[in-house]
């Protein structure tokens, strides 16, 4: 029932693209900015003049991408590069969450959400000249499935993958063993971007180092670990996403990524003009770029930064303790004190830009008195040092966290102070990524602290579903039923109802203590125009140009 509407939409598309391309560039750019929620700095494109082609954009990354292959790796830095190199079957409108055609002209989903048939756009080629046809698409999905755990994010999108069938050279059908309503959105992500069959034949390690041939608006140039990555414009590119404003090739000749891990140095590099743009502006540096720069920002969709309790641990297996902690966290204070207004206090387990988000701010209000009452009722009595205890056991809990997001430690130190006010002791355990994974696998923790970016509510099933990773060791319950249900529903309204129920259950039962919404905050010098963030808050440079 959904499919005809999509096809109808498609019929209007070429016209719309023509109109956009022919229209004033200024108007088009303003529209893009509105779409992505970007450009709050008030630098309107109207005074930038007509876009010009050419030039090199130098962009400072906060972290070495480590592995450039978007199918394998999940680091923001790698995905922001990978997004320029590969195209996806579909694209997602950041404003509405709607799935739009890209390399697939149209698609059909069977009512059980187990089979997805894509009709491919003709004339698309990888940069090695081979066509993007049904066989290539099948090879991509088959490879991701065999990569397994190496494909950190993509393998999660293909859970239950049964196989792909080449119906004809331009039609491919992907089938799943179980309903997988999330898959359509997954095809819009860079993690399921398409690579040439020659690339797929290479070893995962070779692909990581940059042996990547995609069909995207840019072509891989070079990668020096911990130093730089270069990509150049793809000549003859003519199959951009309908959400982009420029048709045909990208404006920029070249993008040079420089790796500058120290945030102060990175900010200084932009101020002194050594680079045109930087990623990950820290909250404390935002004021430096308030005027004269273009700050491109968008909250990350998906699971917000949260404390995830280990529900199998003594103490935290008591729902009342989790609920008390839920009330004891002052989320607006986090945003105000250690972050900035760009990082919104969490109002659900999902970020507000995620399709299917439900506002639960009432249930997440700061209520220290309520928290104390619950703990009193549960038998936790304040001791001499202010920390509560019960049966000789202190209410002391640890949280395992890493340093992927710079301000994490400050955030947790403030949460620690907030919990102390109600008599809960939070111990901070900062671990390297490897140690963190070991500790989590062994279940030797009270809380973990992380976020997961995904512009689809199915992210909750992957995290909290008893069939998913289930780090929190949740028992089966109403939240599990709702999460399983939403995976089987193709109808958006019916699916949203189940997603809302799941969010409510997770918050009410304290299976997650949401804290704040992560935001991508990138800074650009004023001469850089037309930068957009896609629905997953990844940078796209196809429409970007530099004012001479």
């Amino acid at each position: 029932m959904l499919v005809p509407r999509r096809t109808r939409l498609l019929a209007h598309l070429p016209g719309r693209r023509r109109a956009v391309a022919a229209g004033a560039a200024a108007l088009a750019l303003a529209a893009t900015a509105a779409c992505s929620g970007a450009d709050p700095a008030g630098n309107t494109a109207a005074d930038a003049g007509p876009p010009v082609s050419g030039g090199t954009l130098s962009f400072a990354l906060a972290i070495d991408p480590t592995c450039l292959d978007p199918q394998q790796y999940g680091l923001n830095a790698s995905l922001n590069i990978g997004r320029q190199l590969v195209d996806s079957l579909t694209d997602q409108d950041p404003a509405t969450g709607e799935i739009k055609p890209w390399l697939a002209q149209s698609w059909e989903v069977n009512p059980q959400a187990t089979a997805f048939t894509f009709k491919l756009r003709p004339g698309v080629t990888f940069s090695d000249g081979t066509p993007v046809d049904a066989a290539a698409v099948k090879a991509n999905f088959d490879t991701v499935a065999t990569l397994g755990a190496k494909a950190v994010i993509a393998s999660g999108y293909l859970v239950g993958y049964q196989g792909a069938t080449v119906v004809d050279p331009s039609t491919v059908r992907i089938e799943f063993k179980a309903p997988s309503a999330q898959f359509l959105q997954a095809t819009a992500t860079v993690s399921l971007g398409l690579l040439s069959t020659a690339t797929l034949a290479k070893t995962p390690e070779e692909r990581c180092l940059g042996a990547l041939v995609g069909s995207g608006p840019f072509v891989f140039g070079s990668y020096k670990a911990n130093q730089s990555v270069e990509i150049t414009r793809r000549a003859g590119y003519a199959w951009g996403s309908p959400l982009w404003t420029k048709s045909g090739e990208a404006y920029l000749d070249k993008v040079v990524y420089k790796i500058i891990p120290e945030s102060g140095v990175r900010a200084g590099a932009l101020e002194s003009g050594q680079v045109d743009a930087i990623s990950d502006i820290q909250p404390q540096d935002e004021a430096r770029f308030a005027t004269g720069y273009r700050v491109v920002t968008r909250p990350n969709p998906g699971f917000v930064f949260a404390l995830q309790p280990n529900a199998a641990r003594p103490v935290l297996d008591d729902e009342r303790v989790r609920q008390a902690i839920q009330k004891a966290v002052d989320r607006p204070e986090l945003s105000k004190t250690v972050l900035s207004p760009l990082y919104k206090p969490a109002t659900s387990v999902l970020a507000a830009v995620t399709p299917g988000y439900t506002d639960l701010s009432a249930a997440l209000a700061y209520d220290p008195e309520g928290a104390k009452r619950i703990l009193d009722a549960a038998g936790w009595v304040p001791g001499a040092d202010g920390i509560r205890a019960k049966d000789g056991r202190k209410l002391s809990l640890d949280v395992v966290f890493g340093s992927a997001f710079n301000a994490s430690q400050s955030v947790l130190e403030l949460v620690q102070q907030q919990l102390k006010r109600v008599g809960v002791d939070l111990r901070l355990r900062k671990l390297a990524i490897g140690d963190q994974n070991n500790v989590i696998a062994a279940g030797d923790f009270d809380f973990t602290y992380y976020n997961v970016t995904r512009a689809d509510p199915d992210v909750l099933r992957v995290i909290f579903g008893t069939q998913g990773t289930n780090r929190g060791r949740l028992p089966a319950g109403p939240q599990d039923t709702a999460l399983t249900q939403q995976a089987q529903l193709v109808d958006p309204a019916a699916r949203a109802a189940q997603v809302a129920e799941a969010q409510r259950q997770l918050v009410d039962r304290g299976y997650a203590i949401p804290l704040f919404e992560l935001a991508q905050v990138h800074g650009f010098s004023a001469k850089v125009q037309g930068v957009t963030l896609d629905a997953s808050s990844r940078l796209t440079f196809h429409d970007t140009w530099i004012k001479g």
């Binding site: 945030s263 200084g268 105000k336 947790l412 102070q417 900062k430």
Partner: protein, 311 residues
């Protein structure tokens, strides 16, 4: 030539160590002598203003380590979010951090942990390095060769790198950091100790002690060690400054105490993301470390050379 028999009854103690006086003239004379000595020390220090400042700095640092509450009565762990990132003022001498905690209070309370780690590190290198050098020098032969080649290998590895390797193997925490720093510095102590032991071992009173049938362990502990440890102890004083830096470096890299417990190195590290907007966060802890290291070095230099010149 002085014969061994004449020297035997009183092995020469460390020349710098005052011999316990048996004062026939009574308490009055002792008081005069103490007063004279105090006067000499005061003149000695007064003639060197740099040394005077160093002594004051070290005294303050020691006070902070022993009784932090006297210098800063506030809570180093809990802040007032409304007072975040305020510059230095009369109310907040060093300013406040991103959580509104008073930085001066945090620096003062960090002293105890950082100093304890430093003292432990120096003790570890003194005991480990000293014992290796003592045994190697005294026993000689194949054991000497084996131990000193091991020391050569240790010295071939840059000390910070060595500390990093050890702390990675041991895990995080202040005590482990101290141990790692101590082990990495042990090689230097072993060398100096061995050199001294080799010199003392040839002395007539040692030969005499042997000739009189003193057991090897007795010779080692009663005759060799007390006469060989002077330079090693001075080296330990010098080492103190280096160890503060090394401990701070490791805690800067995140190997130290768990947050929010303050440590000097960690305070500098936490503040470095704020250099452009809140310079005081990294500047003041950095200055405190620098002042302490310089003071420790100044004092150890005075102990090592100048005291001798003055006498």
């Amino acid at each position: 030539m002085v014969t061994a028999v004449e020297r035997l009854p009183v092995p020469p103690q460390d020349a710098k160590k005052p011999v316990a006086p048996t004062d026939p003239a009574g308490p009055a004379s002792r008081g005069r002598r103490l007063a004279r000595r105090a006067g000499t020390a005061a003149r000695f220090v007064a003639a060197r203003p740099g040394l005077l400042v160093s002594c004051v700095v070290v005294a303050l640092v020691l006070l902070a380590a022993v009784a932090p509450g006297l210098l800063a009565g506030g809570d180093p762990l809990t802040g007032t979010p409304a007072e975040r990132l305020q510059g230095p003022s009369a109310e907040h001498l060093f300013g406040t951090d991103q959580l509104g905690r008073d930085l001066f209070t945090r620096v003062v309370h960090a002293t105890s942990l950082s100093l304890r780690a430093t003292a432990l590190a120096v003790a570890v290198s003194l005991v480990v390095g000293g014992s290796l050098g003592l045994v190697a020098g005294f026993v000689g032969g194949a054991l000497d060769d084996a131990v000193m080649r091991l020391v050569d290998v240790l010295q071939a590895i840059p000390r910070l790198l060595m500390s990093l390797a050890v702390v990675t193997a041991l895990g995080f925490g202040t005590t482990k950091v101290a141990f790692a720093v101590g082990i990495a510095a042990a090689a230097g102590f072993a060398r100096v100790m061995r050199a001294e032991v080799l010199r003392v071992r040839q002395a007539e009173y040692v030969e005499a002690a042997r000739a009189c049938g003193v057991r090897p362990s007795g010779v080692l502990l009663r005759h060799v060690l007390p006469n060989a440890w002077g330079p090693v102890l001075v080296m330990a004083a010098l080492e103190f400054g280096t160890a503060i830096l090394a401990v701070s470096a490791l805690s800067f890299l995140g190997f130290g105490a768990t947050p929010p417990t303050p440590e000097w190195g960690a305070l500098v590290s936490d503040g470095r993301n704020f250099v452009a907007t809140a310079w005081w966060l990294t500047t003041f802890p950095g200055l405190v470390i620098a002042a302490t290291v310089l003071s420790a070095n100044r004092i150890s230099r005075a102990l090592d050379t100048e005291r001798g010149d003055d006498r």
